[in-house]
């Protein structure tokens, strides 16, 4: 196998590793749907380590 064919195989393998192309899509949302979707839970907010702690004992 020549060096050229090896590099072709590698390039082909790299292409296969790429995620499938997804068609762009537009989602139309009402105001209620936007407010519903863009929320964060207390646990999500606390992931940065801010002041939220509920009580005795490390978790």
């Amino acid at each position: 196998m020549s060096e050229l064919s090896i590099s072709k195989d590698l390039a082909s393998a790299a292409r296969e590793d790429r995620p499938q192309y997804e068609q762009p899509r537009i989602t139309v949302m009402s105001d209620e749907e936007v407010l519903k979707a863009f929320q964060m839970t207390a646990v999500e907010i606390s992931a940065a380590g801010c002041w939220w702690m509920t009580g005795g004992g490390s978790r």
């Binding site: 407010l35 863009f38 839970t41 380590g49 801010c50």
Partner: protein, 269 residues
Amino acid sequence: MGSYSPPETKMVRGVVFRRDPAREECFRVVHLHKEMENLSDMSDMSRRQRIHQHMHNEMQSLEIAAQCIVDFPDTDWELQMELARQCWDETRHTQMLYNRLRALGGYKGEFAVMNYEWGITCMLDSLAARLALQNRTFEGGEMDLLRELVDTWRQAGDDDTADLLAGILADEIQHVRFANQWLKRLAREQPRTLLKVAQAVRQLQQITAAMAPQEGEVNAAGVPLTGYTRVDVFANVEDRRHAEFTEDEITEILRQEGFSGLVAEAARA
């Protein structure tokens, strides 16, 4: 109101925050959670640290609401009045927590403080975005937390602090409620408001990821940060209803918290 740049800003871990507000010299201001001295038990020192930190967070809430009035002077008078009333509430909360701190033998400046919510919220260039983060997200989450903290303190035998936190919770509901009312009104009048809300929440999610502690990181008190941040706080459904989150919004929060089964069951009932 335009965007902010130095010297009005500071950078921490690649994230640009609004520069810290002025503080009395007794306070030691830090910029990373690992520099804080949060303890994970209910020892005497931990109780003082918790109240000290809560006191400082109420100060921040006061300053954020006040800065909104300063930064957005053309806001409807009714909304300015809501923010002014919030300033009054947060001032009382700060004073009550300071009194409680002193009753437990603590003092102002005993522990390090951090202006996290201020730094994020006050970078936002619209009032809608600030209401979405400070009132609807941070204080919304605080409602969930406070309900559990009331029980935590009561179980620890401190009814005075438990009662104090229950009183603060009642006020926070109103702060979240007026933000929900106004965001919906502003969205009806100007749909672009929703884009500001979405951008603000997405920005907070990105900052949260950037500021999250690394595995194995411990804070200044030696407490593992990746351990204690996994708190068991769940949606305070009753108070979220009082704060005028819709049933769909509450259902979505419950779903995000992993209660999909419960939500589906409720929907079938």
